[in-house]
Assembly symmetry: C2
Homo-oligomer: 340 residues x 2
DNA sequence: GACTGGCACTCGCTACAGTCGAGTGCCAGA
DNA sequence: TCTGGCACTCGACTGTAGCGAGTGCCAGTC
């Protein structure tokens, strides 16, 4: 059975009021604060239907109504109008992000900005290595048997790793290794490199073969398999706003989830192009975040996506505002990356 | 006026019991759990003195006693015996730290280990750049007018930064710049580099002067002034143990302080050689941490100190155990760094 | 048929009184 | 100097009562 327009309006009003006041909202207060054009009794009837359908619920018999996860979902999908950013917010974003000197700086500024604007916990994934292309590989001799491999990606990320060579190696050979590696790999997306790295070993002249073998295994390991994804976090103190009413009294599970990088990456990192993902309460696959909502999106130069960013907050959050902010920040960061 | 041995024993017993149970401890319970050899009444008299002197206090008239910050201080300074680590803990440390592949990895493993062992919030400062020496400077041409400067420090830290040159520069000049920069700076402690960097510009042949000027300003800025210090954090979820009884009900100030890198660096970074610093409650200069205690120490290869690490927890913490763990972890990390 | 006003009912919240008991301070006596 | 005894304090807990916000239902109106 469908919900007519007025019932939807009632749901919207409930969500808006509850988000604003954090208190169960009753029929009387509702007609006072919104122009619904009907009496409290009528609203009560509508509420009863909305409750049957699972969009709202009563914390206890003689209390007002509170939206359920399902209610928020409907609100987000069909009822919320996009809230444009205020000029002040736009200015804040610009002011915050200009002057960033390197990628670390960009990511840190972004995550703080996002936390500040949304007043929630912000998470920003570094540009994913898998989605980056190799811009340059540098081999720096540290001693006769040790090399520092430095990989510079087109997204600005720089990864380095120490290589212990099987034996001493002259400077010319390092030069040759450097030439070969760059020739083969520059411009290639990192996720595509493994077969090429493999091929490099086979192509090497005999005297370089052992060194190249060691080098290639390190390349594979560091650049593709291991800890390739990083992220930054800010605003955990915002969890304490709303004094433990959100998150059913315990921050523990949330804080635990936020410490698990793997978990967060799953959450934030699986961004599809130009979509903003909203996960509300139960919809979340991570048990520890069942009491929270996540708003995330991808970012990158132009229309490509190189990483994700988003916020984690109570299910009772200002979805339209948060969504707008997350999108805007992602767009600005994308532009910033495009400039390099 | 002095405290005789028995009074000190009473204080020690109070601290130990309170830390273990988290409940105010009364005279009767005290004589039952410890071999004090006197009656509750005597203990009560001693308690009255201890209270007069400010070492313990009563939360309310008919409750047991709780140590004050001053009481903990006395306990830490004079009463606690060093608690040796259990073999299991030693094994845990070793198992955790072997297999670290690079500095990032070492720091991350260390901070998690420390959080896990102490069950508190752990903070680890990356080896301070100011205290590191330059091992190598690499200049990687990105385009004809752009260089990537990569600095490798002897502590394993690697910093990079993009340089926008005033004009196009041929490959030989880059080679020459690299040679000059390395000749002058390798082996020098970073805090000592500024005058040398300055001299580099003056020494440059005319055609290299503009490029060197730009390069040197970036070197100065990145390597010495800006965000030279980094740190890692873990175990914030541990703040929720003891369910809000610690930290007088609000995690907010603590979480806020933990987000301020500058604040944390002041706290953890000012390590003097081979001392373990314990700051208890009020002694802390940071207002937000007045309800917390900090145990920190320096670490580094051999006897030099290149960074700090420590934990933040409730004043009601197991000081002997925490101090022992912090020291042990710092020692292991130092050994690990010495190996590279 | 949809809406409205009225009314009885529910139930969490707050205030208040009373009881219980852990813990104290003090004192007289060993 | 220590100890046992005793009166006292006061927070924690329990039970009761009143309040009020909010509901569901029903009969009446447009």
């Amino acid at each position: 059975m469908g919900l007519d327009d007025r019932k939807l309006a009632v749901l919207r009003a409930i969500v808006e009021d509850y988000v604003a006041t954090q208190e169960p909202v009753g029929s009387k207060a509702l007609v006072e604060r919104h122009q619904l054009g009907v009496s409290p009794a009528t609203v009560r009837n509508d509420m009863a239907v909305l409750e049957d359908e699972g969009y709202i619920r009563q914390p206890h018999t003689s209390a007002g109504r509170v939206p359920t996860d399902r209610g928020y979902r409907l609100f987000v999908d069909r009822l919320s109008r996009v809230k444009p950013l205020s000029p002040a917010e736009r200015r804040a974003i610009e002011r915050f992000l200009v002057g960033a000197v390197d990628l670390d700086d960009v990511v840190h500024r972004t995550v703080r900005l996002l936390a500040q604007l949304t007043r929630q916990v912000a998470v920003v994934q570094y540009p994913s290595l898998a989605r980056s292309k190799v811009r340059h590989l540098e081999l720096v001799p540290i001693s006769t048997t040790r090399l520092m491999v430095v990989m510079i990606a087109d997204t600005g990320r720089v990864e380095q790793r120490l290589v212990e060579l099987p034996g001493p190696i002259p400077a010319e050979d390092v030069t040759e290794l450097r030439r070969m590696v760059n020739e083969r790999l520059v411009g290639i997306q990192l996720s595509e490199t493994p077969p090429l790295v493999q091929a490099l070993v086979d192509e090497s002249p005999p005297q370089l073969r052992p060194a190249m073998a060691t080098l290639s295994s390190v390349l594979l390991e560091t650049l593709v398999e291991r800890h390739e994804e990083r992220l930054a976090l800010a605003g955990t103190a915002n969890l304490t706003r709303g004094g433990l009413l959100d998150f059913q009294g315990s921050l523990r599970p949330i804080l635990e989830a936020l410490e698990e990088e793997v978990v967060l990456l799953k959450l934030i990192g699986e961004a599809e192009p130009s979509t903003t993902r909203v996960l509300i309460g139960d919809e979340n696959e991570i048990d520890n975040l069942r009491a929270a909502s996540v708003v995330s999106t991808g970012y990158g130069p132009g229309s490509t996506i190189v990483g994700g960013l988003g916020v984690v907050g109570p299910t009772r959050m200002d979805y339209p505002g948060t969504i707008a902010t997350v999108r805007a920040v992602a767009r600005y960061v994308g532009e910033l990356l495009a400039q390099n």
